[in-house]
């Protein structure tokens, strides 16, 4: 993105002020949300073509993911994402090509070299830590990463993400409790998309909001409209800043919606009313963002179209390139059970 050169028209100062974000940041938001969505769409097509055995995506959660990840300091802060967080990883520097290698389980997939199911994101150089398929386990790791940073005297923040369903697990509660006792710089970022596979939130918890659970651990909490990227950024950024200064952990709940089925294996017509889906589709975070910045005169249409064309090309290139990359060889299965030294 940074390499793209464009001329821009002068824009209304007050409106930009309202967003508390620079034009470049707003462009970045749109770009990452759109890139994640278009990549996911192509992944699903590859699945239907029999080329990608499994796809799990974050459609509907891009605003929450991009807004939150942009509030972090890339290169310094850690990200312990969950499987839907493709957009977060893109913000943290993962490329479209790498994401495609991942979904295809290719030899050079930097996330796991074809070993993990797709969407188990990892990139140690970018401070993205890998996760198990077992939900909420990354939250307890995040606590330990924050503890390690404190012991080293490094001022960094760890963002650990999960869905609302995962907050029923003991690991979630144990992580919050531990982080709160030691006032560790962890942002627990919960993407509440209304469903845990087929189960609606009423079956997952008795409280209306995941954030209500913070009170039991005497920690800071916030609820934000997860369909609004700007609002998410504006909520998460001060929390990150405060945590960095030693203010203790936060539980932030982004209310969003899973626009697609749980995964490529799922048929959501079995349990989800079409009417509900249609209502939420109107709040698609990418469309809403686009309409808002246009209406507010932040960008002229051509600027957005330029980003859109750029994304299309990037995705096309990623697919074509990744498909041509080598698969692992059978003997690759046998390495790295123990660290050699």
């Amino acid at each position: 993105m940074a390499t793209r050169e464009r001329t821009r028209k002068a824009r209304s100062r007050e409106q930009r002020h309202d967003y508390l974000l620079s034009e470049a940041q707003l462009e970045e938001m749109y770009y990452y949300m759109l890139l994640a969505r278009r990549l996911s769409e192509r992944m699903l097509i590859l699945n239907r073509q029999g080329r990608a055995p499994f796809v799990i995506a974050g459609a509907g959660q891009e605003a929450a993911q991009v807004g939150a990840a942009m509030a972090l300091e890339r290169g310094t802060d850690y990200l312990a994402p969950y499987y839907r967080d493709l957009a977060m990883n893109l913000v943290f520097g993962m490329t479209a090509r790498e994401a495609m290698l991942n979904v295809l389980g290719k030899r050079d997939d930097p996330n796991s070299y074809g070993r993990q199911m797709p969407a188990h994101w990892s990139s140690p150089a970018r401070r993205i830590v890998t996760q198990s398929s077992v939900v909420a386990t990354q939250l307890v790791h995040a606590v330990g990463i924050a503890l390690g940073a404190r012991l080293r005297g490094e001022q960094l923040v760890v963002m650990a993400c999960c869905g609302e369903g995962a907050t029923s697990r003991g690991d979630f509660h144990e992580a919050l409790n531990f982080a709160a006792i030691h006032r560790l710089p962890v942002i627990f970022f919960v993407e509440n998309n209304g469903y845990a596979i087929s189960e609606r939130t009423e079956k997952e918890m008795p409280v209306p909001h995941v954030a209500d659970r913070a009170r039991a651990y005497d920690m800071h909490a916030a609820i934000v409209d997860g369909m609004d990227c700007v609002a998410v950024y504006q909520t998460v950024k001060p929390a990150v800043d405060q945590a960095r200064r030693g203010g203790g952990p936060w539980l932030i709940e982004a209310k969003c919606y899973r626009l697609w089925a749980h995964s490529s294996e799922d048929d959501d017509t079995r349990y989800r009313p079409r009417k509900e889906l249609e209502e939420w589709a109107k709040k698609d975070p990418i469309t809403v963002f686009r309409e808002r910045v246009l209406a507010d005169g932040i960008f002229p249409r051509e600027d957005l179209e330029e980003i859109e064309a750029h994304v299309e090309e990037e995705v096309r290139d990623a697919v074509e390139w990744a498909l041509a990359q080598p698969d692992p060889a059978p003997e690759d299965a046998l390495t790295h059970v123990y660290k050699e030294y």
Binding site: P53, F54, G105, K106, S112, G114, R115, Q116, M117, P118, H120, S132, S133, V134, V135, A136, G165, A166, S168, R169, G170, A196, I197, S198, E199, K203, E204, M205, R270, Y271, D327, P328, A329, P330, E331, D332, A333, L334, V337
Partner: protein, 325 residues
């Protein structure tokens, strides 16, 4: 008799037992409207209602633990865990509680509970969804471990699990759910625990397996018969605990050779237990050491090529057999 897939046979068992015994109820993630990850409980919510088919939060420890509690309170619950790997989140409840409460209470508290879970590789589900750890559960005294390979056995054994007064770990191979076979519709059709089944007769070698590996053993036996003129006898253990070693020993006394096949890791695994028992009971009849064909010592990888490399193959079984002649 009707031809059913494994998942349908399991569902028939649940339905018949729930109709027979009002103390049975089901709990698990997505088992209601969704019908379970592998569609085993599809339609049961509609017939039995939410009190008896209960969707739970994602919280494996309380799913199993509440099952134990309800069993203590006079019920006979079945809890479903999506995969054997997730059962580790409830390992304390299973191992330190369900398996021990009877003993620790000096016989006062038993736990009639059925814990169903999927296991097995070959479906590209990666390292935290696809291990075969039947042998691990068989290690714990106090648990019964059932692992059917065929639809009829699945039904007869699951029905039998609800007639037990102990905790039964009921493990289903993910690759078998769609497998078809004849299944009796007699509501009193039960298969006793601790009865291995000779699924193919032969005189030259005994191949022992359970769950998914029975099918691998059968395919290897076909190759051996067609290409090598070796007639393998294939034994499906059906339950690991109690274990019917007598059927295996009797077969080995006839064939003088024994190969154990399993998807689990070899080191410290159940195949080693079978090998030891065969040695104890049929040492003088063996023409060769008992061979074990198991997974490579690695977590299960996702990519198909890698996964195949990690899992035992029919060719591995054939090679192990031929090495004995």
């Amino acid at each position: 008799m009707a031809v059913l897939r494994m998942r349908d046979a399991l569902r028939e068992a649940l339905r018949e037992e729930m109709r027979r015994n009002p103390k049975i109820f089901l709990m698990g993630e997505d088992i209601g409207k969704y019908g379970g990850s592998y569609a085993v409980t599809a339609g049961l919510l509609e017939e039995f209602g939410e009190e008896r088919v209960r969707d739970t939060p994602i919280a494996e420890s309380v799913i199993v633990g509440a099952g134990i509690g309800a069993a203590m309170a006079g019920y006979h619950p079945m809890v479903e865990l999506m995969t054997i790997n997730f059962s580790f989140l409830a390992l304390d409840q299973i191992v330190n509680n369900a398996a021990k409460l009877l003993y620790m209470s000096n016989g006062q508290i038993n736990v009639p509970l059925v814990i169903r879970m999927a296991s097995g590789g070959g479906s590209q589900l990666g390292a935290t969804h696809s291990h075969s750890l039947e042998g691990l559960y068989a290690h714990f005294p106090g648990l019964k471990v059932v692992c059917p390979a065929f639809p009829a056995d699945a039904k007869g054994l699951l029905k039998r699990a609800f007639r037990d007064q102990n905790t039964v770990i009921f493990i289903e191979h993910t690759a078998n759910y769609g497998l078809r076979g004849e299944v009796p519709d007699d509501p009193d059709f039960l298969i006793e625990f601790g009865q291995a089944n000779i699924v193919r007769e032969g005189r030259d070698v005994t191949i022992v397996g359970y769950s998914g590996s029975v099918h691998q053993a059968l395919r290897a036996a076909e190759i051996l018969a067609e290409q090598e003129e070796v007639e393998a006898e294939v034994i499906d253990l059906r339950t690991l605990r109690p274990l019917d070693i007598a059927t295996v020993v009797e077969s080995v006394k006839k064939t003088n050779r024994c190969v154990v096949v399993e998807d689990d890791w070899k080191f410290g695994g159940f195949a080693g237990e079978i090998a030891a028992l065969v040695m104890e009971h049929a040492f003088d009849w063996l023409d060769a050491p008992v061979a074990r064909v198991c997974s490579k010592d690695v977590p299960m990888p996702y990519n198909r090529t890698l996964e195949y490399a990690a899992l035992p193959s029919e060719e591995d079984v054939v090679d192990a057999v031929l090495a004995m002649f």
